[in-house]
Symmetry: C2
Subunit: 307 residues, 2 copies
């Protein structure tokens, strides 16, 4: 047990906050965990499952006396929350967040932050297709990366404490600037999500193939896309609205490349297709070697082969 | 033990043939399993792991005396194999295949088939991102669909035997015409694969994001695409070359829909994005209810939450 903060306030009580609470308790990182959610039902659930020691009807009330405040709400709500809590933040409090975009959050939150608090933007690259307070689990952050995009004048001691905090929850921490973060995530997360949402929408809209066929015959590839496309709609709406520039840039690259392969199919250029399909195997190997995915066939979903 | 065939010849000894062999032996479906692969190394492996009771240097030698011949080679190789084995097929033999497209295979194989054999095209919707004879496992076909695209004059008894055969290996069997099969698979498999290959290629090509960043920060969505994009390049080259029309049709629909969402991002139309992202959740639910995917978060890759 190595307590790092006396009182942690979680604003927004979904998958990430729920997992943080379990990971904090497991490692004894917080003296007390309090929280706020807009929905009375979510607050009641959070109390019932012990996600929070106490819950508050307003974010302002939740942050009183906290030495760490973590904004776990959808990206689009961060600015209003920052404005609301600002007058109630204690001297020396660290304010952080878990949002999937960083530049827009800094632009929305920083102007509200009083000089006596330390705002350190952060983004744990972890999640599942499930959402809500009951979907959290303590192991969510294990060997996942938490990216910090600290501002130039960040207090080194506060940064060190937050690094220890995330490390103790199982994550690896790396620092980069916000703009680069948003580009990296446009590649590794935002564009893949948009593409998956698009493909699932196409399949659902077709007249000549029934939804029953799409569902029954999904195991040949399509089902993987539906997991991503089942992610929380509010969260993802806000991601795209707030990482517009980088997402559109990567989508442009994607379309260019797709047209190139489409043209190869139309022209029957098998060598071009083969060359492309061979090249993409290496990066899968890298991801497995880096411990970011399993090498088990089909993500280990299918019964295992006899070793 | 309910033996259905005396001697089964597998032409092409990769993931599917390897899994069929294990599933056949488990259920006692074949008196003898023989095979052929072009590569001497693959043939040696097949003998070593017991995939086949005996292997042959030519497909022609392998089919002699077989009452079931299953073509398990890449789609583009089927026509030549059919031409080679035709003179050696016994009276009454059933010839089938496991190819991912059906119309092109019928066009390539049927002209070579003598009148005294029964050609029943089939496609088990099962596989993993791994390939080769060692990647097979007996459970691969369990609760997966095997689609038959029988020709109009197919012998009902031979069709019934092949249905019993696949059912005994764990699959559900459904019949449809070849053209519809190719459209359904363009939606549920071929286009998703092309999109995944494209996205992984884009990520690998970027100058402003390093491959190390792509790999380390892949858990936020991208890693799912890399599994599909690690599939066998020869197999997939042949799929696209041989299901050109349906794949291009679905790609056209995909691009149309992608541009619609891209435009919503550019214009900041959050309602449109939210509506689309909400709609796509239902089909995921259907796939889970149909037993075609797991409801465990992240396909069950992450440590499970305490129930």
């Amino acid at each position: 047990m190595t307590q790092i903060y006396n009182k942690v306030a979680l604003i927004g009580l979904g998958l990430i906050a729920g997992s943080m609470s379990l990971a904090m308790r497991r490692a004894g990182l917080a003296g007390e965990i309090v929280g706020h959610a807009r929905s009375a039902e979510t607050r009641a659930t959070a109390l019932e499952i012990g996600l929070c020691d106490s819950v508050f009807e307003t974010a302002a009330a939740a942050v009183a006396g906290a030495d760490l405040v973590v904004l776990c709400a959808p990206v689009g709500a961060m600015g209003d929350i920052a404005a609301e809590i600002a007058p109630y933040l204690e001297q020396g409090t660290t304010v952080s967040d878990v949002g999937s975009v960083k530049k827009a959050i800094i632009d929305a939150v920083l102007p509200h932050m009083p000089d006596h608090v330390h705002f350190i933007p952060a983004h744990p690259l972890a999640g599942t297709e499930h959402s809500g307070p009951r979907s959290g689990f303590a192991e969510l952050f294990e060997n996942r990366w938490c990216l910090f995009t600290p501002l130039p004048d960040t207090d080194p001691e506060k940064l060190e404490n937050l690094t220890r905090f995330w490390t103790a929850m199982g994550a690896n921490v790396e620092k980069m600037d916000a703009e680069h973060h948003d580009l990296v995530l446009a590649v590794t997360s935002h564009t893949p999500h948009l593409i998956a949402y698009t493909m699932v929408g196409v399949a659902e809209d077709l007249q000549r193939v029934t939804n029953k066929e799409v569902i029954d015959f999904s195991a040949a590839g399509f089902r993987d896309f539906t997991r991503i496309a089942a992610s929380d709609p509010t969260m993802w709406r806000d991601v795209f609205l707030n990482n517009k520039q980088a997402t559109l840039e990567i989508l442009g690259r994607f379309t260019e490349e797709l047209f190139d392969l489409q043209r190869a199919i139309r022209r029957g250029d098998g060598d071009h297709l083969f060359e492309h399909f061979t090249r993409t195997r290496a990066i899968r190997r890298g991801i497995i070697d880096a411990g970011q995915d399993t090498d088990a066939p089909n993500f280990g979903r299918a019964p295992k082969k006899d070793a």
